[in-house]
Symmetry: C2
Subunit: 454 residues, 2 copies
């Protein structure tokens, strides 16, 4: 065990306690009442960056602040690595499904349960700890490092692109490293070859000006609830494909080699079924399960609210209905084009007796990796060294909208390596991360810097 | 002006104050937390019956109590009139759409605004006041009278049929009079020729065992929100007809004379449009607006709840989705048959990857009147005397499930005459009744008894 590895292993109890402190801050970016918690989380991250030996700044944006940690002591000509993560979290609801409170991190069976454990506080923090290890043990790093932690990832990063554009000189780098996803499987690390994008909408249907008695008016008034159901049903066809005209025009068809590689992965479909816990799986016909998750687009209802939803039978013809609906996008699709298509489609489908509003809440472009170069090789070696097995190339069904923006604005490749376990309940109750993943992630990143120095 | 008319007119300020007291009691039968208010409303009704000169009993049921008021001093051989009404009310939500509080009755422009003003406290109470007028002014009535006020009408009257069956000898009568609906138009009273029935369901769709991240799982997991939308959309076709196979098998086709009479009514379609306040009206093609409201069945979504419905974009693939859906039924349809048909239909439509539960919350059979006999003629004359214009024969889109049961158990015809204004917001915010309707209703019922004595 090297000094670096020894330091990390020895300091783990403290690292874990610090992570628990981080997880206790309910930094829910979607809720305005948590603005103070967001601020507290930003300050907390800045303090830990300073403890690690970085210079840290909490920088204002029109939304929640960006925390920037910098270490620029590498030899002249050394490259710069930019680490990106986020300190905000998803809302914790439904609260009654958590086995321990969402913001009281709890250790059970070697796993840490808390909102943000995997997404992304645990993974952001392991990067800070890897830097701390290098700086405390060797006093230096072979590369310059910038850590950028934002507080709006879970609401679509509205301030981040302007921030990166405004500070592109300070953020100039040779590679961007992001850990905001899962490993391919327990014990099998992965580097991502693609990310899906996202287009998230709220659809509002307004019928009568107020709620009506369903007996007195039913049969003559167009019901916004029935209409919304009709709109939502029209978004997908029987074969699991999105049924919006033109939706597949921009969808990239992957080469056979990539599709074969995906099919050859040792995917634990039974384990996946167990995580899901539904009577069965389904999706677009003609594609394997991993293809459907990684390289094919989707349409999912995220929420619906209409009329009376309390106890008992209220015979109301509701005045309005609302749905949250999102699409996962694949390379060459764009949220802007999807917005146009859904607006056209809904205008075609909806009857004239209701008023429809479509709001775009969140958009992120899909991404496709460049799988070559020194950084890619260093990451591959570091993951193999830490986990004892080489990483596989994997896709990711989720979205990190900023990836494409980083690549374009900073003109640097992006490496995506996740340390969360599959089934980490990232946007659901009982989010978790194994302590082991947290520690091995720190070891892997420490090794990454060592490789870059070698 | 007769003594009777004079008494009613003179006592109106007191009658109105008493009605306000009644309306202040939040006797919401659908909510268990209002059990105490229900009890208070029952006691209040019994006290007012006693004040009017009736003997009153608050009688227990497995649910909310029935209040029975009786006067049996008519000459031997005189018929018995049973008045039915209900003292429970709909939930007041959405509260923020009320211009004055739901349970603080407010007089504006000659109208009383409060939950229950029209449905049914105002109408139940006018019957009690008509009896009071007769008993105070003349000391007698030409008929025996039983007033039955229940507290579970808004939750489907679960205890009433067993109650009527158990007490059928005490409730024996020659006619049942019910005022729980609207007049045909302002100033035009009506007697009903039909009522629609009701079949009200909750549909629950369960997919994954817990909420999932829509990126990590979307595309492979059947989404209960999309599935529910598909089920709801499948319930109606493009022409506004219910699309459940077999649904129209039992639907009675009305004779041409009735359809012609409906088309000849001076219906204020523009006023109706104004009440609704939607960009347009629609419904089953091939039928006039009143036919769609009165003699044709419907399918209306009453509520939907699924996933995340708060502020912002939560990328969740929800574990479950729920809808409340109800059907208005017309003569010869039955809630039991509709339940069988919807269960079969949903089983056909739903994919096997989700679990569906269909709960029947509420059922009531449709009804068709017998439009002849002494009571019908007395009612017609009394309405004409009070309103200065003869009543029209009208249908009613709403449901009073007990009507069919009364007819069958007590073997007596039912007269339905409503005094609420059209557009009374009965199950919606800002429910109201004109003071004038309340007073003229009392005069009409007082005249009804006078006619029966003449």
């Amino acid at each position: 065990m090297s000094d670096l590895q020894g330091y990390i292993h020895r300091e783990m109890p403290r690292f874990r306690e610090e992570l628990f402190d981080f997880l206790r801050i309910p930094s829910v970016s979607a809720r305005s009442e948590h603005a103070g918690d967001i601020r507290a989380a930003a300050d907390w991250v800045a303090s830990r960056m300073r403890d690690a030996g970085l210079e840290a700044s909490v920088m204002e944006t029109p939304g929640h602040p960006v925390v920037l940690g910098e270490w620029r002591g590498a030899p002249p000509g050394a490259p710069t690595v930019l680490i990106y993560g986020h300190y905000d979290v998803q809302p914790p609801e439904p609260l009654d499904e958590w086995h321990s409170p969402a913001f009281e991190p709890t250790l059970r069976d070697g796993n840490i349960y808390a909102r943000g454990a995997s997404d992304d506080k645990g993974q952001l923090f392991l990067h800070i700890k890897a830097l701390e290890a290098h700086l405390k043990v060797t006093g230096t790093l072979p590369v310059n490092v910038v850590v950028l932690a934002e507080g709006e990832e879970e609401v679509g990063s509205p301030s981040l692109v302007p921030f990166v554009e405004a500070h592109h000189e300070r953020l100039a780098c040779d590679v961007v490293v992001i850990s905001d996803g899962s490993m391919f499987a327990n014990g099998i690390p992965s580097l991502l070859f693609s990310l899906r994008g996202l287009a998230y909408f709220e659809i509002h249907v307004q019928g009568p000006k107020g709620d009506l008695h369903s007996g007195t008016y039913g049969g003559a008034v167009v019901n916004p609830g029935n209409t919304l159901a009709r709109i939502l049903a029209s978004l997908k066809d029987d074969s699991g494909r999105v049924a919006i005209p033109g939706f597949y025009d921009d969808v990239m068809e992957w080469d056979q080699a990539t599709r074969d590689a995906i099919r050859d992965l040792p995917f634990d479909e039974e384990g996946f079924m167990g995580e899901v816990g539904a009577p069965g799986l389904d999706g677009e016909s003609g594609f394997s399960l991993l293809e459907r998750l990684w390289i094919r687009p989707t349409c999912d209802v995220n929420g619906i609210l209409c009329g009376y939803t309390g106890e008992g039978a209220k015979t109301v013809l509701p005045a309005r209905a609302m749905a949250k609906v999102s699409f996962r996008l694949v390379p060459r699709q764009t949220p802007d084009r999807v917005r146009e298509l859904i607006e056209e489609h809904i205008a075609d489908v909806a009857p004239p007796e209701v008023t429809i509003r479509v709001l775009e809440l969140h958009g992120g472009r899909p991404w496709k990796a460049d799988l070559e170069g020194d950084f890619f090789e260093a990451a591959r070696s570091a993951l193999e060294a830490a986990f004892g097995t080489p990483p596989v190339l994997a896709g990711e069904g989720g979205s990190i909208p900023i990836v494409v923006d980083f690549q374009e604005i900073l003109q640097a490749p992006v490496l995506l390596m996740g340390f969360a376990p599959p089934g980490a309940n990232m946007h659901a109750p009982n989010e978790w991360i194994p302590v082991k993943n947290f520690e091995t992630g720190i070891q892997a990143m420490a090794s990454f810097y060592t490789q870059l120095g070698g």
